[in-house]
Symmetry: C2
Subunit: 354 residues, 2 copies
DNA sequence: TAGTGTCTTTGGATCGATCTAATGCTGAGA
DNA sequence: TCTCAGCATTAGATCGATCCAAAGACACTA
């Protein structure tokens, strides 16, 4: 009985191409061809070589392949130290999606630590200089982010999770259409009968924030609803949001679309303060579908980002770029989806218990 | 003016050891020595070689090093697909800590996707067979986890985040002393004057859960406080926890120690139901210091895991194991810390506003 | 001057795969 | 019978660093 691939040898596998070749009675090159260009071999030879390969549990050494082909099959990702706690809750899902998609394409993700306070280029440079990676996935792309231009200048394949928010677009990216998400939120609220729909966002100037605000505004206009006096901004934490949303409630808003679940939570606190219940008295829709959304009480309706799809797209775009560095850039905007929970329930459903 | 290291060459760096050697007028081996064993070189030679190295922006090729030295300087980490939402919120912090510690030691983290539903060995086998990694960091170590034994059997260096919960201990690990955390929580509550302190945990049999329950019990005994009828269990989500905690409250508990922030949140809901305010009417302490803890209102006192330290320890233990495979196993138990917020405030502080 | 030892430096082989170009083999056509 | 495609296979060089053992430089003694 031939040893199965699942137990090649007790201690690692010092099985080399040459050993397999000797066993199968062919040259090393033929074994290599059996793996990389099987169509070159005569069927019977192929079978014989394949037999030897899995009898011996052979696996090509990545190091040798990397050295020869000049491709490490590694994708670099600079992980940042919990930036602000807002985009963080979803990052591990994104990382998993990336790893999964990369694995399926025969690549792997290489993590490196980015120092806090804006991504520096140092880590990227080091990885490149030593030919450790074939390309990069960037995330937390900020305004004035220097990475895209820097990488593009030296012809390094990369893809961004998030478009460029200032200057012209550089390179490929995949992003979530925030405007579409808040637009859908407004649509949902209008269907629930709301007309005084407010928006609680971040200060203008943040790309992501302006995008999300834009969707709200667009949908409001479409329905002929006024937006003046229905928008508030809050920079910091939940507490700041609680205060910022007050004027909106005072002005009689019956629904609030928030640019993040954190902001929506601030809204919850403001409502509780006046003994109002989210979803019963004032509808609230958040953004991100962070873990807290389903946990809050009442549970928070929110716009969910399709992170798995973003991960897949990032890998797809990156591989395409590596395959053809001269191809025109490709940009993908993915649709988020509204997750309906109790804070803005489905039309016709009962009022949630507080 | 010599080119600085920060801009080696426009397109990657095809600079090789041999090129540097020619430039410096020495043999390739000498350049290698200049990097790896500088003490072998005559000071003036060393300086000359070093000059050439950074004039040309030379960086050794990792692939070639890996091939020759049989060490990839990569550490594998199988990332799991958001397991249950409970340990997840902290995983990205842990990953960052790992990356950071690894980077500082000249290693990098290699991510690969573990399929959902218990870690399979496939991914580990693949990585090993191709000599892609020098060792592994395991996390989410479960009961009956097969990975440790499997890796140990083939002499692969690894370290676990989390001890073995069944059978004998295998290999090195770093873990957080959960018992110590809940013990400290009880101490804090006792100092606040509480005596009827309940524990809301997971069903017995989960290692982590029993550990945390043990700390509560130990501290209660130490203070001569009864534990009978003061313990409840909940398996699932927040809703289940809300129901599970009711009997404890009915029995007059004035404080609840929860095995996780999720469970603590269930407790919040149960309290709100009876118009009681956490921290004012009943003290609550969570576990994990997940992002929601600081966000809830009132904010949740909770036991924080020193994830950065765990990451550092994991890397340290792993490197030690690789340096000496025969050394006796080393196990590190790290102290968590109590983060005091409004749900169980500091003694003498004002009652928090609801 | 030759001999011995230390201290630097070097040549050549090596890790394990893939590249290029060349080989042996077969059968069709002249 | 001989040539010449066309296919299957192979030999040898190569990627870029590090290992080992041996050679050169140098001072210092006998």
């Amino acid at each position: 009985m031939p040893r199965s691939t699942s137990s090649p040898s007790p201690k690692g596998s010092p099985v080399t191409l040459a050993m397999v070749a000797r066993r199968a009675g062919v040259s090393p090159q033929t074994v290599s061809n059996a793996i990389n260009s099987p169509e070159l071999l005569r069927p019977e030879t192929l079978e014989r070589v394949r037999g030897a390969i899995d009898e011996m549990g052979y696996r090509p050494s990545r190091a040798a392949q990397t050295l020869r082909t000049r491709s490490s099959k590694l994708i670099g990702y600079g992980i940042q130290p919990t930036p602000g706690g807002d985009t963080a809750p979803v990052m591990d899902r994104f990382l998993h999606a990336l790893s999964q998609a990369a694995d399926e394409a025969g690549y792997r993700m290489l993590l490196f630590a980015c120092p806090p306070g804006g991504p520096s280029l140092e880590g990227y440079e080091e990885l490149l200089g030593r030919h450790e990676v074939d390309g990069f996935v960037l995330s937390n792309t900020a305004r004035q982010d220097p990475r895209q231009a820097w990488l593009a200048k030296r012809g390094v394949p990369f893809v961004g999770f998030g478009r460029m928010w200032s200057g012209r677009q550089i390179g490929d990216w995949a992003d979530v259409d925030g405007a579409s998400g808040t637009d859908a939120a407004v649509e949902h609220l209008v269907a629930l009968g709301h007309r005084r729909i407010a928006f609680l966002g971040w200060p203008r100037g943040s790309g992501v924030g302006d995008d999300r605000a834009g969707g709200w505004q667009r949908a409001m206009r479409r329905h002929g609803l006024p937006t003046r006096g229905r928008r508030a901004e809050s920079a910091g934490d939940v507490e700041a949001a609680r205060i910022a949303v007050k004027p909106l409630l005072d002005a009689g808003a019956t629904a609030v679309v928030a640019a993040s679940d954190m902001l929506a939570l601030g809204c919850y606190h403001a409502l509780r303060e006046r003994n109002a219940v989210p979803g019963r008295d004032v509808a609230v829709v958040g953004f991100d579908d962070s873990p807290i959304a389903g946990i809050l009480s009442p549970s928070l309706s929110t716009v969910a980002q399709p992170l798995e799809a973003v991960g897949r797209e990032c890998v797809r775009l990156l591989l395409a770029r590596m395959a053809d560095p001269a191809a025109p850039p490709e940009r993908v905007l993915l649709e988020p989806s509204l997750v309906i929970r109790d804070s803005a329930p489905a039309p016709g459903s009962d009022t949630p218990a507080p």
